[in-house]
């Protein structure tokens, strides 16, 4: 896979992309190694009310929260929630949206048109609103947040893949594959999909960032995992009652969300530059 090695090399050479990839890698490591890295792993579910609302010091690097739990430890365990939600929600949306877009784009005509109208309807409401409505309807839990996010996110993918499929479908190599008698399924999976995969990969990275933001907003509004789960958005919401004294309370989770989303955005930008030359970040050569 020489091509992929080349892509990897280019990715690592661009500083911003490298930074993005490192942030994401750190997030994954933090999530996996949370029990090892946390100074007080038991704090996630145990309270030490005597210890509550301590500013950052040599023991609690990011301070403690209203239950006296170590914020750093909760943050590390919270990475698990964040990454689970983002991975499954985006994964489901992609798994549902891509085949629909592919089939609609391949067959075109009225089914494609209808599909685009349906996704238009979904896309006519801000994702946050629809997701809040669904999450509230189903009750606060991680599973329901995931469900709400993927239910509101698949039309985006259907639309993207539909447009990409339409533009690739008339390429010579696709037409010749069809002429050679390849079955529609074969053409779609072996010929079209690989050709639109770079667009999907780029959007996946950026979509992960957006999904983490939306999930955090749901948590902030009290619709995410119920307490005491160390969900980042909820941690920020809890801190509101203790401002301005406990200034550190929201700082760490807010920065964590910021860093992770930025990581995915930077990686997405870098991937776009490399994989999708049509929408380059840099300009051409005439100045």
């Amino acid at each position: 896979m020489a091509v992929w090695r080349q892509v990897l090399w280019k990715l690592l050479r661009d500083r911003a992309t490298f930074l993005g990839a490192s942030i994401i890698l750190s997030l994954i490591l933090a999530a996996i190694l949370a029990p090892v890295l946390s100074p007080f792993p038991e704090d996630v579910f145990e309270f030490h009310t005597a210890n509550r609302l301590r500013p950052p010091d040599g023991v609690n690097y990011f301070g403690t929260d209203r239950m006296g739990s170590d914020i750093l430890s909760r943050l590390l365990f919270g990475a698990r929630i964040t990454i689970t939600i983002a991975l499954i929600a985006v994964g489901t949306a992609v798994a549902v949206g891509v085949p629909i877009g592919l089939v609609a784009g391949y067959y075109g005509a009225w089914p494609g048109d209808l599909l685009m109208r349906v996704s238009d309807i979904f896309l006519a409401i801000p994702q946050v609103v629809l997701a809040i409505a669904i999450a509230q309807t189903l009750g606060p839990s991680i599973e329901n947040v995931i469900l709400a996010l993927s239910a509101t996110y698949w039309p985006f993918w259907a639309r993207l893949v539909y447009a990409e499929t339409r533009s690739v479908k008339n390429e010579i190599f696709i037409e010749s594959a069809i002429a050679l008698g390849a079955s529609p399924a074969r053409v779609m999976i072996l010929h079209i999909l690989p050709n639109i995969s770079s667009a999907i990969i780029v959007r996946t990275s950026i979509g992960m960032g957006a999904t983490i933001l939306t999930a955090a907003a749901l948590g902030f509004l009290g619709l995410g995992a119920p307490p005491p789960a160390p969900e980042w958005g909820r941690m920020i919401a809890e801190s509101r009652d203790f401002l301005p004294e406990a200034w550190w309370y929201a700082t760490a989770p807010g920065l964590a969300i910021f860093l992770v989303v930025m990581g995915f955005n930077l990686l997405g930008d870098g991937l776009r530059d490399i994989l999708d030359p049509r929408i380059r970040r840099a300009g051409g050569r005439n100045d």
């Binding site: 109208r117 349906v118 238009d120 309807i121 979904f122 006519a124 409401i125 801000p126 994702q127 946050v128 609103v129 629809l130 809040i132 409505a133 669904i134 509230q136 309807t137 189903l138 009750g139 960032g209 933001l213 955090a216 907003a217 902030f220 509004l221 009290g222 958005g233 920020i236 919401a237 801190s239 509101r240 401002l243 301005p244 200034w247 929201a250 700082t251 989770p253 807010g254 969300i257 910021f258 860093l259 989303v261 930025m262 955005n265 930077l266 930008d269 929408i279 970040r281 840099a282 300009g283 051409g284 050569r285 005439n286 100045d287």
Partner: protein, 334 residues
């Protein structure tokens, strides 16, 4: 006439889109496991009382019938009454609309006024220190959680520095209501201290809301300008000695904005979703906070009203964008 055709076909989809939207919202709201009638009737209601209320509210009928009667109501501008406040939803929303519009317009104003020139400048000085710094700012603006930014701004400017109000749209009585837009109303009243007060309340929410939109505009403008600045017609204009500032701010910008305009729909979506969360943090008495409250209270007639309104706005904005696009790009009317 391609332009007319395009507009007509867009208009033709307007109603079906709203109908579809209503169906989706209706379905979502009606799979609520909790029974709104039971909540409404109160803890101590008897089974008969609950049933009576159910019949009274029309919740005993089959879903399709309920849907149809809802359609009939919507068509006549009646969005029903809130099951909590018993107030007309359409009226409540109409009352809250100016607050949201004022906030949104302020954010659009800020993001356009800052976003477009900054985007042009960073394209002209590509890879300069300025460009790199601006890129850091835009990437950050798109990565920060708006509710967190809102809280940190409140912490800094309201609690620590005490130079901006913590939340709300106005302290005490606002200007005499004429349009509902407090900036306009205080201007009408000629009350400058009031205008200052209104603006100070508006500042933090508007900035928070504008940040991701401005970042989006900067990115699109920058990319658009870079695209255009390498084109043959810019080279031609330079070779013919047309002043450079004229080339950039009249010709290049006009071309670059065509692609930015097509993104207004996207930016509008960013603002709408931003408003929902930001209004909640700032206790801004607009439609976004209303939606969150309604959702948290399972007040689903209100939710449906809000969603319908948002969807309609969104479809209209996109229609306008399409029309605008055909107007400013002569090539689209071939």
């Amino acid at each position: 006439m391609r332009r007319l055709e395009l507009i007509l076909s867009r208009l033709a989809w307007f109603i079906p889109t709203l109908v579809g939207l209503t169906v989706i919202i209706f379905t979502v709201s009606h799979i609520i496991p909790t029974d709104p009638v039971r909540i409404l009737a109160g803890e101590n209601a008897t089974a008969e009382q609950i049933e009576a209320l159910r019949v009274e509210l029309g919740y005993d009928k089959p879903l399709p019938v309920q849907l149809l009667s809802y359609f009939r109501d919507v068509a006549t501008g009646n969005l029903g009454v809130s099951i909590y406040t018993k107030r007309s939803i359409a009226e409540t929303m109409w009352h809250r609309l100016p607050a949201t519009l004022e906030l949104t317009f302020a954010a659009i104003f800020l993001s356009v006024v800052f976003g477009i020139p900054l985007g042009v400048l960073s394209a002209l000085r590509r890879n300069s220190l300025f460009d790199h710094c601006l890129r850091v700012v835009t990437v950050s603006g798109l990565a920060v959680a708006s509710f967190w930014l809102a809280m940190e701004l409140q912490f800094l400017f309201s609690m620590k520095l005490a130079i901006a109000p913590l939340n709300g749209r106005i302290a005490g009585f606002g200007p005499d209501e004429v349009t509902g837009f407090m900036i306009v109303d205080s201007l009408i009243a000629g009350d400058l201290p009031m205008l200052g007060l209104v603006l100070s309340h508006l500042a933090l929410p508007a900035v928070t809301l504008a940040l991701p939109a401005a970042a989006t505009i900067v990115r699109f403008t920058r990319a658009g300008v870079l695209d255009v600045i390498n084109s043959s017609f810019v080279l031609y204009a330079r070779a013919m000695g047309i002043p450079w500032s004229l080339i950039v701010w009249k010709y290049v910008l006009r071309n670059a904005l065509i692609s930015t305009v097509t993104q207004i729909g996207l930016i509008f979506g960013v603002l709408l979703s931003g408003a929902v969360v930001i209004e909640t943090v700032f206790d801004w008495p607009g439609l976004g906070a209303y939606a969150v409250n309604s959702i948290l209270q399972s007040d689903y007639k209100s939710i449906m009203g809000f969603t319908l309104w948002t969807g309609a706005m969104f479809v209209i904005v996109n229609l306008l964008v399409d029309i605008l696009h055909t107007l400013i790009d002569p090539r689209s009317n071939r």
